[in-house]
Subunit: 229 residues, 2 copies
């Protein structure tokens, strides 16, 4: 269903080589783990010279970023398309969250290993880093699209900030899922369902006049946790 | 102000030795990092045989747990005492959170390194582990005490679950603080202030009849994230 933009583009020899290095790296990250894999291992596995590997990717971190980026770009149209068929905000947000987990699933193990980079915004592999900005913005865009066409009206003060807050929420869900040892990650499914119920309830109430101090407090909080970019 | 229970107890030679090993370990964790320190290094630094080190602590993980435990026990009375002088819930919660950060501060660097163990409940160093249960329960107790004597009335359905939810919130604050590179961790201070404002607002409103579905949704969420112990 998901087609790779790289695969459907007319391939050139350079792209073939880049792809070979990329696939070899992901395979090694899954097998040996990210930390244990070197650029030398990747070049060897791909059957290219070390210099060639570095020509395409400045570091193994760059390969991980390319993986996240590709995951975002490849799923972009499919996500927007799927949202067109869903009206309820809960279904729309659930779809975006579950799609994200579905895309991460084949590489769950190395994403798990990467998690320790996550909270440090100065680490390029952190979702909060400058390097990850285009990836982050795509993810936020999907959440913005889910919000915009749903059946819950959001007040104009909250509206511009909600996609980013939802993205932080999505990060928390991914973290929970990475460490969810339950069968078929049933606990994550439950968490998504219940947290979305809470969220939708909160959003529905948030428009009431008596909720204004709450909205103001929430917006104050946004200022304290926003990514500086 | 904070007195160590271990230090004030009548010391025996065994306790001196245990203490020596414990202090040597913390010093090494701070200097070399937790992962890079071995039990052999710890024994050498403490000037005891490796067997002696193992006699007192089954592993370096056990030393970290002893550190957290001691931090909790040593601060217990001081926290309860300080709460007696504070009436506003916001001040009470702020005190508990800031006290926790103050206690962690001298070992911030190795706590940071330990963070990657946090989300995996099967890891003894995770705050969610069975091994960490007594430490977790003490922390939850402090939050329960802060809630109980404050100026905000909580409905009886929420009341038993709030201390645990506040503890999850405290974990998020600690995580933010560990990676806060701002001067004197000013961003964390701001985050605490604003998130507490939001929380208090939410608690004040939560008792209203129209908030019942929200409370029900919040309680549903608790079931999905509770530690299984």
């Amino acid at each position: 269903m998901i087609t790779s933009t790289l695969k459907t583009r007319p391939t050139s020899r350079a792209e073939d080589t880049r792809r070979k290095i990329y696939e070899a790296a992901l395979k090694l990250f899954r097998e040996k783990g990210f930390e244990q894999t070197t650029m030398r291992d990747i070049a060897a596995k791909a059957g290219v010279a070390l210099g060639a590997a570095y020509y395409y990717f400045a570091s193994k971190e760059a390969i991980v970023l390319a993986f996240y980026q590709e995951m975002q770009e490849d799923s972009h149209e499919a996500i927007l398309e799927a949202l067109r068929g869903r009206r309820k905000l809960k279904d729309r947000l659930r779809y975006v969250l579950e799609k994200r987990l579905e895309l991460l699933a084949p590489n769950r193990k190395f994403c798990d290993a990467l998690f320790k980079h996550a909270p440090d915004a100065s680490d390029p592999l952190s979702p909060f880093s400058t390097e990850a900005r285009p990836i982050r913005e795509r993810a936020i865009e999907h959440l913005r699209a889910a919000l915009a066409g749903g059946d819950v009206k959001v007040t104009s003060d909250l509206e511009p900030h909600l996609p980013y807050l939802l993205w932080l929420y999505q990060m928390a869900i991914i973290l929970f899922w990475l460490y969810d040892r339950s069968l078929r990650q049933e606990r994550t499914e439950k968490l998504i369902d219940r947290s979305l119920t809470l969220l939708i309830n909160l959003l529905r109430l948030s428009g009431l006049p008596l909720m204004k101090p709450l909205r103001k407090a929430a917006l104050g909080l946004v200022g304290a946790v926003a990514v500086a970019d």
